[in-house]
């Protein structure tokens, strides 16, 4: 049962990803990416990562992709002229070869990795557990990210201003 679910979700994610990189219209790409994110969120849920499951949907699917869609709409980006006009076949072939080669190697290694999930408590991946680690062991990093977000906000405001 679990395996079926896993294969379904991963299949959806991967297919949506493929769909994303091959569409002419940016809008189609964006929407398929949303599907990918949702699929991934589900996979997180399967992995007992409850907080992350939610965060994924909120942040990625809900905020980042909305921003992207917003920009697409704002700039009124149209479909590209020709199929894969945006991509050169040469580069595609090269990347394809590289990707296949790397995949070959990587999967060869991965074949030796066999793991079974150890039993974890029901609190694993819950808000309380993650929060506990986040605010104690990784407090500094957390604060730094906060600073980063502040800088980003300032930067974005500056960048997006129209030049007078």
């Amino acid at each position: 049962m679990e395996r079926v679910l896993f294969y379904a979700l991963s299949g959806i994610s991967v297919l949506a990803a493929l769909w994303m990189i091959t569409r002419r219209s940016p809008l189609s790409s964006a929407l398929s990416l949303v599907v990918t994110f949702l699929g991934l969120a589900a996979l997180y849920a399967m992995l007992d990562a409850q907080l992350l499951f939610v965060v994924q949907i909120w942040v990625y699917a809900g905020a980042v992709m909305v921003l992207v869609l917003f920009v697409i709409m704002l700039l009124n980006l149209r479909e590209e002229e020709s199929r894969m006009a945006a991509a050169s076949w040469g580069r595609f072939a090269l990347c394809g070869i590289l990707a296949l080669g790397l995949a070959w190697k990587a999967f060869g290694v991965l074949a030796g990795v066999r793991g079974i999930a150890p039993p974890v408590s029901s609190e694993f991946g819950g808000v309380a557990s993650v929060a506990e680690i986040l605010f104690t062991r990784y407090l500094v990093q957390f604060q730094l990210v906060g600073l980063l977000l502040l800088a980003v906000v300032v930067g974005v405001v500056v960048l997006a201003k129209r030049a007078r």
Binding site: L94, L98, G101
Partner: protein, 681 residues
Amino acid sequence: MEATWLWLIPIAPLVTSVLCGAIALATRNAEAPPRRLVGWLACLGPGLSFALSLLAWTELRGLMPVGRMLSQTAYRWIDSGVLQLDVGFVVDPLSSLMLLFVTGVGTLIHIYSTGYMHAERGFARYFAYLNLFMFSMLILVLADSLPLLFVGWEGVGLCSYLLIGYWFEDPAKAAAGKKAFVVNRIGDFGVLIAMFLVLWTLQGVGSASLSFADLRRHTEAFTPALATAVCLLLFLGATGKSAQIPLYVWLPDAMAGPTPVSALIHAATMVTAGVYLVARMHFLFALSPVASTIVAVVGAATALLAATIAVAQNDFKKVLAYSTVSQLGYMFVGVGVGAYGAGIFHVFTHAFFKACLFLGSGAVIHALHDEQDIRRMGGLRHKMPLTFWTFVIATLALAGIPPLAGFFSKDHILWEALSKPNVVAPWLPPVLWVVLVAAALCTAFYMWRLVALVFLGSFRGDAHTYEHAHEAPPSMAMPLVLLATGSVLVGLLGVPHLLGGSNRLESWLHPSFTLAQDTHLESPPHEGEESGGSAAETEASVGHEPVSAHATSAALPESAAMAVALAAGLLGLGLGHQLYVRRPQAASALAMRLPAVRRLLAGKYFIDELYAAAIVRPLRLFSDRVLWRIVDMRLIDGSVRLLGWLTWALSVAFRFAQSGYVQTYVLVVVLGVFALLWRVL
């Protein structure tokens, strides 16, 4: 014996040279240089050296003949593993003699120059160079090792160039200076290679310092072949410096320099350096009969060649130049047959009368306002009597008329050449003798021709010049008188036993020419005069050695030879007088009957032209076509430009990495990561 003041002998003229040079630089824009100051300063240097040389000589006389040597080691010069060489000076009988006449005649010529160069703007510069020359020559003579001698050797070559090209604004004169330097350089190359060979040979023996004392101790390290090679290379240097075949061609051209320069450098001192070198290295030449024979043969050939050329020359100084070349040939015959004392004796006497001749020519040229063509002279004996008489005395000395100096020295060489057997070519001695006698005949002939054309008869130039001709001023006349006196007297130092003398010069020089080991390799210097190199011999007792039986039998051929040589000299003088005084038309008639001979002789056997065509021109072509066009422009410049082009090409290749396209950058990163992962996985 240690003498720590020896270094002062060469240093005195060096100091005055620097001072004169400084004055020359300081006054180069002034109207007239400070003549009195420079003149006194310039004569002071060599004068001091002469006084010190006299001191050295008297000290030397006080020593026993065996260890008769003053030496000083100044400081360590080269300290590098195999070669440990000190700068050191040595005064032994040979160098004491050289010192005396180099500094003596040198000082006289300096005094003469103050008069001769009076009108020159570059007065101070002249004396700076001349003093520098004295310094170099003294280093050469005093050196106790081959490299130090070579330093002086090169120094005199440099000063010769500077002084020949003294009037450098005239391109012909500058070219003469250059020619002298280049030809000398070829000889110097020989000396250098010889030094390297010696060092290479001696390093196996342990110590290598290239000092003469060291070399004498280790002569057994030299195989005959090696000794021959070294000697021939050294002789190559000597042919360059002392103007023998094949490198004599610079000396006639060197007459472009001021006449006192010709007198000092190209008659009395520098050109004798080659003979001195051979004499210093006598122990090595003794090991190689082949080399010694070659030296003698070349000397004799040069003597005759130059004498025949001098017969047909019309430039006053060129006649004297070829005469010098010829007389140097005699000296080399002397040292070539092993009669080192005889050769050096001739060096000594020649210095006096040749310098006197040159200075006399200078007086004439100066009086006639730089006229040098003897066809436009004549009848000057009345206008310049002192010059005339000193010139005649020196001429007779050169021609070998007794009791003047040239007779004894020349005759000694002739006798040694004839009587010493030659192991390499047993037929050689009589041939050498005949050649030298022929040269003596020519010598007397062309010298009397010179006297006749210049001083006798009537003046053939323009009257205006004749009007203004005057006798030499005292600064120039005094050296003439002194040198003429020397030409008369110094011969008496070497009167041979045959004529009742004791040949004091020979016995004085003898300690310098003994070998380190037993002296059976060297035949006694003169039959019956003294036993070879035995110790505890004082100078006074030499003449009273018991004369062995074969001395009397040797006396007959010797006196016969002497008579023949004298006859040749007198014959030459007579012929010259006949053709140029009594029947002047006969000379030109003779010349017209043999036009080819006249052209050959006047054209100096076209040797210069031969060299120019066979050596100079191909070298120039090679330098231009190959060395410049190909090596310099293509190879060297090309490789530099190649570097530049490579940089450009590489930059073109790498430029894609800066395309500005983000995806290109990402691609590169990905490729890198890919490579990394491939290795890791």
